[in-house]
C-alpha cells in the first residue's frame, strides 16, 4: 500500500493533467475538477484518524537514490496528520472559494496548476521522513508560492513580492539544507526518525549547534519570523485565496512544523529554548505592533499572521523545555505549551482563513481593501460582517470562540515558564508573560480595527468603485464552514485534542505520558483569565484613543525597517558588485595579462621558495664552446632590442634574426628536422607579418605611463626569473631517464632511420595528425575571417 505516496503524487499528477482537461471542458469551470483532489485527499486523511489517535504510525518507502541514502520515505504520525488535514481541508475550502473569487480574465489553468503543485509539495513536506526529500518539497513550496504571488505578474508589486519571498525562503532553505547535511554528517542517516533516535549521542558534536541554527534559519524564514518576516506582507500581492491558503493557513506553518518535528532532535537544550522563544516573542510583539498601523486590510492580516506565527513559535520554544525533564510532572507541565502550539496552529488556520476570505469578499465586492475608504459595510454585507466578527474576535482571544482557548493556554504556558528552573530563565523569565500580554493587547486593538473600521461607522460610498452587495452564495460557503469550526472548536475542543493533538504531542515529546492535557474552557479565576480581562479593558481603551497615541509609530524613522534594509541590501549589493567587477574586469587585455602573470609568479614562485624546491647544480652541464656562447649572445641581443625597436619592421627583422638563430641553434644541438621546420616556418611567419602589416598601422611608441612601464618590466622580469629558476632546478634534479631510449630502435620498429620522423609518423602519429588538423582549422579560420565581412556577406566563393 502506497497510499501516502500516492496522496503526495496525486496533486502533481493533477497538475500535469490540468492543461489537458482545460482544453476539453470549454466553458465549464476547471476549479470543480480541481476541487476533487483536495476533497479526496482530505477524506483519505480523515480515514487515518482512528489509527493515528491510537498511537499508530504509518511508514511507506520507495527508493529514489538509494546509493546515497535518499529514499522517498513517508511517515504519518499525529503531527503530520494535523498538517495534512489542514492542507487538504483548507485546500478544499480555498479551491471552492476561488472558483467564485477569480475573475474570468485570470488564467485558471495556471492558478490551479500552481495551487495543486503547492498542495503536493506541502504534503510532501509534512509527510516525508527523509531530510533531503523534505528539503525537495520545501523548495517546491517556495517555488509554488513564488508563482502564486506573481500570479498577476504584470503588476510591479507582485513581481517584487514574489522575488522577495523566493529569495528569503530559498536563502533559508539553503541554510536548512546545510543544517540537514550537518546532521547527516553526524548521524549518517537522512531519516528524521533515525536521527531523533540516535541524536542523543551527538549533542557534544561540534556540528550540533551549527546544524541546529541552520535548521532554524530555514524554519524562521519560512514562517516569517523576525527579522525575516518582511516577505510576508509583500506576499499579499497574491490573489486572496492564495493568501488565505499559503500565507496564513499552511505554507508559513511549514516552519512551525519543522520546529516541532525537530524538537525531539534539538529540544531540551538552552540554545533551542531561548532562540525559538525569543524569536517567537519578538515576532509576536512586532507583528502585532505593526499590524495596528496598517491601512490595507490584507497588510493588517499579514502582520497579524506574522504575530500569530510568532506566538506559536514561542510556544514551541517554551514547550521544548519539557524534553529536558522527560517523563513526569514537570515534563507534562511544560509540554502543555507544545500542545497549545498545535492547538493554536489549527485555530489560527480557521480564523485567519475566514478573515482572509472576508477580506477577499470585501475586496471583490467593494473594490478596495483600504481601511480609510471603507466603513459602514455592515449594512451592505451582513453575512460577511458576521464572519468578520467571529474570525477577529476569535483572533483577539474572546470567549466562546476557539481562539480564547488557545490564547488562555498560551498565557498558562508563559506564566509557567517564569518558574522554569533551568536555562537561566529565572533572570529574565518574567519578561515572557509581559511581552505576551503586551502583544496580545495590540492583537486586540487590530482585531477591533479590522471589524469596526470596516463595518461600522459612516459608509463612504463615494470613495468606492461600486455599490457593495453580498457576493454569490458560493463565495460564502467556505468562510461559513470555517466560522462553524471556530465556534465548534470552542465547545468541543477535546474532539480535536484527544484524537489529533495528543498523538502529535507524543510524537514531539516522546517521553511525555500520564497527565494528558485536557482542554477546558473554564479554569476558574486564575492569572490567565485576569490577563485576558486586562487585555480587553486596555485594548478597548487603546482602540478608542488610537488617534492620540498613533504618534508612537512615528518614532521609528522611515528608513529604519527591514524592508528598507532588504531593498538597499539588494541595491547596494548590485552597485557594489558592479563597482568591484567593473574595476577588475576592465576589458583591458594588458591588465588581464598582468593578473595572470602575477598569479603565476605568486603560485609558482611562492611554491618554489616556500617548499624549498630551489636547488641549482651546474656540474652536470655539457661543455660550452665559443661559438655557442656567441650565438646565445646574438639571440639575447636580438631579443632585448625588440621592445626598443622604433618601427615594427625592425622588430620583425629582429624576430627573424632570433628565429634564424634558433634554427642554427637547433643545428648545433643536432636537430636537423627542427632546424628545417623552424627556418621555413620563420620565413613564412615573417611573410605573413609583412602581408598583414599592409593592413595595419605603423606601431606607435607605447603611450603608457612610466609607472605602468616599470610595473610591466617588473612583472616580466619576475616571470622570466621564475621560469629560469624552475628550469635550472629541473635541470639539476632529473629524477628519471627519459623514455626516449626506446625510440632508438626505430629502424626495427618502424622501418625508419630518422628517429624524429619515426616518432612523428609512427610512434606519435596521432599528434601529427591532430597537428595537421589544427593547421587546417587555422586555415579555415583565416579564410572565414577575411571573407565574412560584416554586412557585406561572403565574398565570391570559389576561384
Amino acid at each position: 500500500m502506497y497510499l501516502l505516496i500516492l496522496a503526495i503524487l496525486i496533486p502533481f499528477i493533477a497538475t500535469a493533467l490540468i492543461p489537458l482537461i482545460h482544453k476539453r471542458i470549454g466553458a465549464f469551470h476547471i476549479g470543480w475538477f480541481v476541487l476533487l483532489v483536495p476533497l479526496a485527499l482530505f477524506l483519505i486523511f480523515i480515514m487515518q484518524i482512528p489509527a493515528i489517535s491510537n498511537g499508530e504510525t504509518l511508514i511507506q518507502a520507495v527508493n529514489w537514490i538509494p546509493s546515497i541514502g535518499i529514499n522517498f520515505t513517508v511517515y504519518l504520525d499525529g503531527l503530520s496528520l494535523i498538517m495534512a488535514l489542514l492542507i487538504t481541508g483548507m485546500g478544499s475550502l480555498v479551491v471552492l472559494y476561488s472558483i467564485y473569487y477569480l475573475s474570468s480574465s485570470d488564467s485558471f489553468p495556471h492558478f490551479y496548476a500552481y495551487l495543486l503543485l503547492f498542495m503536493g509539495a506541502m504534503l510532501g513536506v509534512v509527510l516525508s521522513d527523509n531530510l533531503l526529500v523534505l528539503y525537495v518539497f520545501w523548495e517546491l513550496t517556495s517555488i509554488s508560492s513564488f508563482l502564486l504571488i506573481a500570479f498577476w505578474y504584470h503588476r510591479k508589486n507582485s513581481r517584487y513580492g514574489a522575488q522577495k519571498s523566493l529569495l528569503i525562503t530559498v536563502f533559508g532553505g539553503f541554510g536548512m539544507l546545510a543544517g540537514f547535511l550537518m546532521l547527516h554528517s553526524m548521524t549518517g542517516t537522512f531519516s528524521i526518525r533515525e536521527t531523533a533516535a540516535v541524536v542523543g549521542q551527538y549533542t557534544d558534536h561540534a556540528l550540533f549547534y551549527p546544524a541546529m541554527f541552520l535548521v532554524l534559519l530555514g524554519a524562521f524564514t519560512k514562517s516569517a519570523q523576525f527579522p525575516f518576516h518582511i516577505w510576508l506582507p509583500d506576499a499579499m500581492e497574491a490573489p486572496t485565496p492564495v493568501s488565505a491558503y499559503l500565507h496564513s493557513a499552511t505554507m508559513v506553518k511549514a516552519g512551525l512544523y519543522l520546529v516541532a518535528r525537530f524538537t525531539p532532535i534539538f529540544g531540551g537544550t538552552a540554545e533551542w529554548f531561548w532562540t525559538i522563544t525569543i524569536v517567537g516573542l519578538i515576532t509576536l510583539f512586532w507583528g502585532a505592533f505593526c499590524a495596528v498601523r496598517q491601512t490595507d486590510l490584507k497588510a493588517l492580516l499579514a502582520y497579524s499572521t506574522i504575530s500569530q506565527l510568532g506566538l506559536i513559535m514561542s510556544l514551541l520554544g517554551l514547550g521544548s523545555a519539557a524534553l529536558h525533564f522527560g517523563d513526569g510532572e514537570q515534563g507534562a507541565l511544560y509540554g502543555l505549551a507544545i500542545f497549545a502550539a498545535l492547538f493554536h496552529m489549527v485555530n489560527h488556520s480557521t480564523f485567519k482563513g475566514a478573515l482572509f476570505m472576508v477580506v477577499g469578499i470585501v475586496d471583490h465586492q467593494v473594490g478596495t481593501r483600504d481601511i480609510r475608504r471603507l466603513g459602514g459595510l455592515m449594512a451592505f454585507l451582513p453575512i460577511t460582517f458576521t464572519f468578520a466578527v467571529i474570525g477577529s474576535f476569535s483572533m483577539a482571544g474572546l470567549p466562546l470562540l476557539n481562539g480564547f482557548l488557545s490564547k488562555e493556554m498560551f498565557f498558562t504556558a508563559s506564566v509557567n515558564a517564569v518558574s522554569l528552573p533551568i536555562f537561566g530563565v529565572s533572570t529574565w523569565g518574567l519578561l515572557i508573560p509581559i511581552i505576551a500580554w503586551t502583544a496580545s493587547v495590540f492583537t486586540f486593538v487590530y482585531c477591533m480595527i479590522f471589524v469596526f473600521r470596516t463595518f461600522f461607522g459612516a459608509p463612504q460610498l463615494k470613495k468606492l468603485d461600486r455599490k457593495p452587495v453580498e457576493p454569490s452564495i458560493g463565495m460564502l460557503i467556505s468562510p461559513a464552514i470555517l466560522c462553524v469550526l471556530i465556534v465548534g472548536l470552542f465547545f468541543a475542543p477535546n474532539l480535536l485534542g484527544d484524537h489529533l493533538l495528543k498523538p502529535a504531542l507524543h510524537g514531539i515529546i516522546p517521553g511525555i505520558s500520564g497527565a494528558a492535557p485536557h482542554i477546558s474552557a473554564w479554569h476558574g479565576f486564575n492569572t490567565e483569565l485576569f490577563m485576558t480581562l486586562g487585555i480587553i479593558v486596555v485594548g478597548t481603551l487603546l482602540f478608542l484613543t488610537f488617534r492620540s497615541w498613533y504618534k508612537i509609530y512615528l518614532i521609528q524613522p522611515a528608513g529604519w525597517n527591514f524592508t528598507v534594509l532588504y531593498n538597499s541590501l539588494l541595491q547596494d549589493l548590485k552597485r557594489a558588485a558592479n563597482w568591484i567587477t567593473t574595476h577588475y574586469m576592465t576589458g583591458h587585455l594588458p591588465a588581464y595579462f598582468a593578473y595572470i602573470f602575477v598569479f603565476f609568479i605568486a603560485a609558482a614562485g611562492g611554491a618554489l621558495i616556500s617548499t624549498g624546491a630551489l636547488s641549482i647544480d651546474l656540474t652536470a652541464d655539457s661543455p660550452i664552446t665559443t661559438y655557442e656562447g656567441m650565438l646565445i649572445a646574438v639571440m639575447a641581443i636580438a631579443a632585448i632590442s625588440i621592445p626598443f625597436a622604433k618601427s615594427r619592421l625592425t622588430a620583425i627583422l629582429l624576430n627573424g634574426v632570433l628565429g634564424f638563430s634558433i634554427a642554427i641553434f637547433f643545428v648545433l644541438f643536432r636537430a636537423p628536422d627542427l632546424a628545417l621546420t623552424q627556418l621555413v616556418i620563420e620565413t613564412v611567419t615573417t611573410v605573413l607579418f609583412l602581408l598583414c602589416f599592409n593592413f595595419l598601422p605603423e606601431w606607435k611608441t607605447e603611450d603608457s605611463s612610466k609607472r605602468i612601464k616599470i610595473r610591466n618590466a617588473v612583472i616580466a622580469i619576475a616571470a622570466g626569473v621564475i621560469v629560469t629558476l624552475i628550469g635550472l632546478t629541473v635541470n639539476s634534479g632529473r629524477l628519471f631517464e627519459s623514455i626516449s631510449g626506446y625510440f632508438e630502435d626505430s629502424y626495427e620498429l618502424a622501418g625508419g632511420d630518422n628517429i624524429v620522423n619515426a616518432i612523428l609518423g609512427d610512434f606519435r602519429a596521432f599528434d601529427t595528425m591532430l597537428e595537421s588538423l589544427v593547421l587546417f582549422i587555422a586555415g579555415l579560420g583565416v579564410y572565414t575571417l577575411i571573407r565574412l565581412k560584416h554586412g557585406k556577406g561572403p565574398g565570391k566563393d570559389e576561384h
Binding site: 629560469t724 632508438e744 628517429i755 616518432i759
Partner: protein
Amino acid sequence: MESLIIILVGVLTTVAIYLVLSKNVVRVILGTAILSHAVHLLILAMGGLKQGTVPLLGEEAEIYVDALPQALILTAIVISFAVTAFILVLAYRAYQELETDNLGAMRGSDDE
C-alpha cells in the same frame, strides 16, 4: 650549456612578457611569437643536451641526442605557426572593423 640556454629562455620570456603586456596588438602578437621561441628552446634544454649524434640511425653512433623533445618541438612549432597566422589576420581584421590597434580602446564592457 643547459643552464645557459635556460637563462636565455628566461631572457626571451622576459622580453616576450614585456611585449605581451603592452597595449599595441602587434606587440602582443610579437610577444607571443617570442614566447613560443622561448618554450621551444626550453623543451630542447629539458630533454638534456647530451653530446650525442644527430638522431639519424644511418649515422652509426653509440649515443643519439634525445629525439622525443625534437618531435614535440616540431609539433609545437607548427601549432604556434597556425595560431600566429590566425591571430595576425584577426588583428588586422579587428583593425579594419574597430579602427584601432590599441587594446586600451578595445575595452568594451560587460554591460553593453
